[in-house]
């Protein structure tokens, strides 16, 4: 062995590893998170203040009579008042139950269809573009069909929720499977992953971020379908957010209607935040978080 190569190569290698990794982010990262939370809060507060300000200005302009366009000073206390009554919470409960059930159904159906279409070529040729077509179809257009078919009941609403959400979910899965990076596929095949194992250990995890994006979009569609459905399909004896809103319309109670709209908006934002944090967790674990604008 010549003298020049006897200096341990392992030491250089390990040293290089340490140099390349640099200081570990660990604790600083955690501290950054709580700071980020606070830092992310003030723009939101500012945005809300601006919206309320514009609202108040329109109100003050006397563009519409004050009972037709109430000010935030009237609406917000009304919302607070409603929040102290059982009726609103019962309505939220009914609506969220429908939303969760309908969305869960859509996830199951959308995933099964997505999995089948992504695997079976003739099936993709047959209904691949149909799925995208369904996705662009406004779900409200399905209501006449659903009401005639199922009658004025929850099934009609569920049907439209599923039709609204399932195509997005299926498409998310299909896109995820399609865009599994070829190098990973090659590595998986070299490793001997075949058939179901290939799906379980490679293709499904690889398509997870795209699938979650599909879920998020599917949720938005199903929430819209649900709101439309609750306004159109009024079921006697069952209160829901749509029913409350519809009652307000009938009684021309703009103050209450706007309160309910704020509730709908808040619920939508809350669920979207859940999906957003799920999405960010996945991206961070895969080292994709840096490319996304963190909030």
């Amino acid at each position: 062995m010549s003298a020049e190569t006897t200096r341990t190569p392992v030491a250089s290698l390990v040293g290089l590893d340490n140099l390349e990794l640099g200081p570990q982010p660990g604790r600083e990262f955690l501290r950054g998170n709580s700071a980020k939370l606070l830092g992310g809060l003030w723009p939101k507060v500012l945005a809300i203040a601006i919206v309320l300000g514009i609202w108040q200005l329109v109100y003050l302009s006397n563009y519409k009579p004050h009972d037709i366009f109430p000010s935030p000073v009237t609406v917000l206390p009304n919302l607070w008042h409603q929040a102290q009554h059982y009726q609103l919470w019962q309505a939220i409960g009914t609506t969220l139950r429908r939303a969760v059930l309908g969305f869960a159904l859509a996830v199951v159906i959308g995933s099964v269809i997505g999995a089948l279409v992504s695997r079976i070529k003739p099936l993709r040729a047959a209904i691949g573009s149909l799925i995208t077509g369904l996705q662009t179809m406004p779900s409200i257009a399905w209501f006449p069909f659903a009401i005639i078919f199922f009658g004025l009941n929850t099934s009609a609403i569920m049907f439209v929720i599923v039709l609204g959400a399932a195509p997005s979910i299926a498409n998310g899965l299909i896109a995820g499977v399609d865009y599994t990076p070829p190098p990973l596929l090659r590595a998986g095949k070299t490793m001997g992953l075949r058939g179901i194992a290939l799906y379980r250990y490679l293709i499904l995890p690889a398509s997870l971020p795209t699938f979650v994006a599909g879920l998020k979009q599917g949720w938005a569609f199903s929430w819209r379908s649900l709101m439309a459905g609750e306004l159109l399909v009024i079921i006697a004896g069952s209160s829901s957010i749509g029913v409350l809103l519809s009652n307000d319309q009938n009684q021309a109670d703009m103050t209450s209607a706007m309160s309910i709209m704020i509730v709908i908006l808040l619920l939508g934002i809350a669920v979207d935040t859940l999906f957003g944090s799920l999405d960010r967790t996945i991206r961070r674990r895969r080292g994709l978080a840096d490319t996304a604008l963190g909030t």
């Binding site: 190569p9 095949k189 070299t190 490793m191 992953l193 895969r286």
Partner: protein, 285 residues
């Protein structure tokens, strides 16, 4: 260590590879010499590969014959369009030749690429473990084997890190551990260090040397880097471009351990560069 003559010998240009026995033995005492009776680890006989049909068809490989003996390290070098990657796909069984025969005599074959292609949702350890799982290694054994393999590539302390938390060189070492987990006898490498900086590459050459010797791996190593070929190979096979043919085989008689900046390796590199330039010049239209 048996020190053979320094420098290299270039047999006359021939389409058929030399019998590789001597070549294997020249790789120093640490590597397993191929017994004369054993079949070659890789054997390509008159292999051609055509992509597409009719007027748009492309002849990627034209009547290529070569062998890699057991425990031998053979580098493939050539300009673009020489069908190096096609050849690896054929040996790995990911593709079939249009004519001719490819044989690895039933040996396990594994591939490594320029990109580490680690699964980003798994930690380094889980990436390695998945390869063991795919082979059906029982759970108890998987854990100890994973630890061993990561230690083999000096990444014992990074088992819990995800690929994006590692440097390029470390990722490629995890990929190496994963390839080793497949317990293959034949390792096909497609420019595995092409994307790394020279310093890291140099250190990984040493790692690769050690691992190949320890495990008596037979390696077919594609590279664009003439020095790398001289640094690593027992033999270097020079391919022509469009179609890929074997134009020359260079036996590297530099004793191990080698250094990429040694005059002997540089000499081999210069010779290979000359051959490649000649080949490229022949494509002037």
């Amino acid at each position: 260590m048996s020190v053979t003559q320094r420098g290299f010998t270039a047999p006359q240009a021939t389409g058929v590879a030399q019998p590789p026995e001597q070549a294997a033995q020249s790789h120093g005492s640490s590597r397993q010499p191929a017994g004369a009776a054993r079949s070659p680890a890789i054997e390509l006989t008159g292999v051609s590969k055509v992509y597409g049909k009719g007027r748009t068809s492309l002849l990627a490989l034209d009547n290529v014959s070569l062998t890699v003996a057991e425990g031998e390290f053979v580098c493939l070098i050539g300009a673009s369009g020489c069908g190096k990657s096609t050849m690896l796909s054929l040996v790995a069984g990911l593709d079939t030749p249009t004519s001719g025969q490819v044989s690895t005599a039933g040996r396990r074959v594994t591939l490594m690429f320029q990109e580490p292609a680690l699964f980003p949702w798994l930690t380094a350890a889980k990436n390695v473990e998945l390869a063991l799982r795919a082979r059906g290694v029982p759970k108890q054994e998987r854990r100890t084997r994973t630890t061993e393999l990561l230690e083999t590539v000096h990444l014992g302390g990074f088992a819990g890190k995800r690929p994006h938390e590692l440097s390029g060189g470390m990722r490629q070492r995890v990929a190496m551990a994963r390839a080793l987990a497949q317990d293959a006898d034949v390792m096909l490498m497609d420019e595995p260090f092409g994307a790394l900086d020279a310093m890291t590459r140099d250190l990984l050459h040493e790692e690769l040397d050690r691992i190949c010797a320890e495990r008596a791996l037979s390696v077919l190593f594609v590279t664009h880097n003439v020095r790398e070929a001289g640094r690593l190979g027992d033999r270097v096979i020079v391919l022509s471009s469009r179609p890929g043919r074997v134009i020359e085989e260079v036996k590297v008689d530099v004793p191990h351990p080698r250094r990429i900046d040694s005059p002997e390796v540089a000499e081999v590199g210069a010779h290979l560069t000359g051959l490649l330039r000649e080949e490229m010049a022949s494509h002037v239209r």
